[in-house]
């Protein structure tokens, strides 16, 4: 994510397997890719464009998603996306990006400890 924010395409590319996929679920409610994105070049470009477009409005934090480390993003302080990664131990095989607000309600229901974590780890 730091690489995306810094616009560092090469570092970003190196994180993914050549044939990685990105699946986004916007539920038709929020803008999201309606098809699975194939290939790391396209995925990297998507991340870069998104980072540029939302610069200064996005905060991010690492949170367990379904028991595994995931990335939760907030847009202007409101839950925006939950991103899970499938890896082979070294590189990312698949990215699952949940943007449908209906499915992000769980973020608001997190207990006190996580609220504190969120406050301290989210970087503006």
């Amino acid at each position: 994510m730091a690489a995306a924010n810094a616009g560092d395409e090469l570092t970003l590319l190196a994180l993914f397997k050549e044939d990685a996929t990105l699946t986004s679920d916007g539920g038709g409610v929020v803008p999201a890719a309606r098809k699975v994105v194939h290939g790391r070049a396209r995925i990297a470009r998507l991340f870069l464009v998104l980072a540029r477009k939302l610069r200064g409005r996005l905060t991010q934090t690492i949170l367990p998603i379904n028991g595994e480390p995931g990335l939760v993003s907030f847009l202007d302080g409101a839950p925006f996306s939950a991103t899970s990664f499938e890896t082979d131990g070294t590189s990312i095989l698949a990215v699952y990006n949940v943007l449908n607000p209906e499915k992000l309600k769980g973020i608001g229901q997190l207990g006190g400890k996580f609220k504190a974590d969120l406050a301290s780890s989210a970087t503006p």
């Binding site: 699946t23 986004s24 679920d25 916007g26 539920g27 038709g28 999201a32 890719a33 309606r34 098809k35 699975v36 949170l63 367990p64 998603i65 379904n66 028991g67 595994e68 995931g70 939760v72 939950a82 899970s84 499938e86 698949a94 699952y96 990006n97 949940v98 449908n100 209906e102 499915k103 992000l104 769980g106 973020i107 997190l110 207990g111 400890k113 996580f114």
Partner: protein, 177 residues
């Protein structure tokens, strides 16, 4: 009264496991919670003397309720715009280590996406195999027998269910190979 307290205690012991099964079947927290609640009601109405293994009985009830509900919601799912992903579960601070262990069975989004590609009955068969460690052909046969005509899901089915569930219980006790 004491009787129903006992039932409650038994139910609470397996509640997390039931949730994990229902969640992996349905892919949303609300649906999974509904189904666990429905199983809770059925558990309190059940003829408990017929039930050899409460856990097996409850898991099979949850499985069948899930299959039933998936059949009813398949049309809505078909209309979903763009790819469908499960509703994520966030954090784990609220859970004790035991609960953590209970849920440690694979809940990852990647695994759930694979499950989502299976038809409801196949998905159920796979999860039963996972929970009870019984061979897949056996759990598949069990789930196929479970095909109820939609909406007709009551006493006689449940009795059959109790018997079949004990099938699983004995499989597990014998350390199924």
């Amino acid at each position: 009264m004491a009787y129903s307290r006992e039932r409650n205690a038994v139910f609470e012991q397996v509640r997390n496991r039931l949730f994990a099964v229902a969640y992996r079947m349905m892919g949303t927290k609300a649906d999974a919670e509904d189904i666990v609640q429905e199983a809770y009601l059925r558990w309190h109405q059940a003829d408990i003397d017929e039930v050899r293994s409460p856990e097996a009985w409850l898991v099979s009830v949850v499985t069948r309720l899930s299959i039933d509900r998936l059949r009813r919601t398949s049309v809505e799912r078909g209309k979903y715009i763009g790819p469908w992903l499960p509703e994520p579960l966030f954090g784990n601070a609220a859970r004790s280590p035991e609960e953590e262990l209970e849920l440690a069975s694979d809940l990852s989004l990647a695994f759930m996406v694979v499950l989502e590609r299976l038809a409801p009955v196949e998905r159920a068969a796979f999860l039963l195999h996972d929970v009870f460690d019984c061979p897949i052909p056996r759990s598949l046969a069990f789930c196929e027998r479970a095909k109820p005509p939609a909406g007709r899901w009551c006493t006689e089915q449940e009795n059959a269910c109790a018997v079949n569930a004990s099938d699983f219980a004995s499989t597990k006790e014998n350390g199924a190979s």
